[in-house]
């Protein structure tokens, strides 16, 4: 089945220790998104790639970076995690080439990040 895969599902890191979360997709979608979702909060868009073009949200901290080496993979790098960065990180994809009525986004299961 075509899907969005996130690894690892659970990640524990220490305060200030860099961490990388990964996302892969078999949907061949041209857009990939990273969201941060804290408990009982709305998913917050951090940035997205439209093909190779990187689009950063204005309020995304510099501590968060992203890489998209090819269509299938996208990485979220947190350079110096703080306690406030503990959250669920969701990767999503969409196809804005064949979008139909709405920009449907397909989400992965998320990576839950704990910062000690």
């Amino acid at each position: 089945d075509a899907m969005v895969i996130q690894n690892p599902r659970y990640q524990v890191t220490q305060f200030g220790k860099p961490v990388t979360l990964s996302c892969s997709q078999t949907l061949n979608h041209n857009v990939m998104y990273w969201y941060q979702q804290k408990s009982s909060q709305a998913p917050k868009l951090l940035f997205h790639y439209y093909d190779k073009d990187f689009n950063n949200e204005a309020d995304t901290p510099d501590n968060f970076q992203s890489r998209r080496p090819n269509t299938s993979f996208c990485f979220l790098d947190i350079r110096s995690p703080g306690l406030g960065d503990a959250a669920m990180y969701l990767c999503a994809t969409s196809s804005l080439r064949n979008r139909g009525w709405v920009n449907e986004q397909f989400f992965g299961p998320g990576t839950r990040l704990t910062v000690l």
Binding site: V4, S40, Q41, A42, P43, L45, H48, L90, A92, L96, R99, W101, V102, N103, E104, Q105, F106, F107, G108, P109, G110
Partner: protein, 111 residues
């Protein structure tokens, strides 16, 4: 004022009841309205979407948009325990614009 507001619940209803979930939004420029369902430890999945005003029905689910009052609703008929999840409303100005999510309402259907 936040762009979209949603009561986080939790909302507990007995099996078979009609469920009403609601959101309000602040800007009349929004034209696309969506409902995502998120099961525990899973990512959200698109449940229904509506463009502009009106109703849309899909099986036991009905999405309703009232642009005059900036109010969107999701109704679930004959609710089932498997409907227990968090329901997030989402809005967008146009098809290519980013989606703005509500906080989500946690729904529990009691057997």
């Amino acid at each position: 004022q936040k762009e979209v507001e949603q009561d986080p619940g939790p909302l507990s209803v007995p099996e078979g009841a009609i469920v009403s979930l609601n959101c309000t939004y602040s800007n009349s420029a929004f034209q696309y309205f969506m409902w995502y369902r998120q099961y525990s430890r899973k990512g959200p999945e698109l449940l229904m979407y509506t463009y502009s005003s009106g109703n849309k029905e899909d099986g036991r689910f009905t999405a309703q948009v009232d642009k005059s009052s900036k109010y969107i609703s999701l109704f679930i008929r004959d609710s089932q325990p498997s409907d227990s999840a968090t329901y997030l409303c989402a809005i967008a100005r146009n098809r290519d614009d980013k989606i703005i999510f509500g906080k989500g309402t946690r729904l529990h259907i009691l057997p």
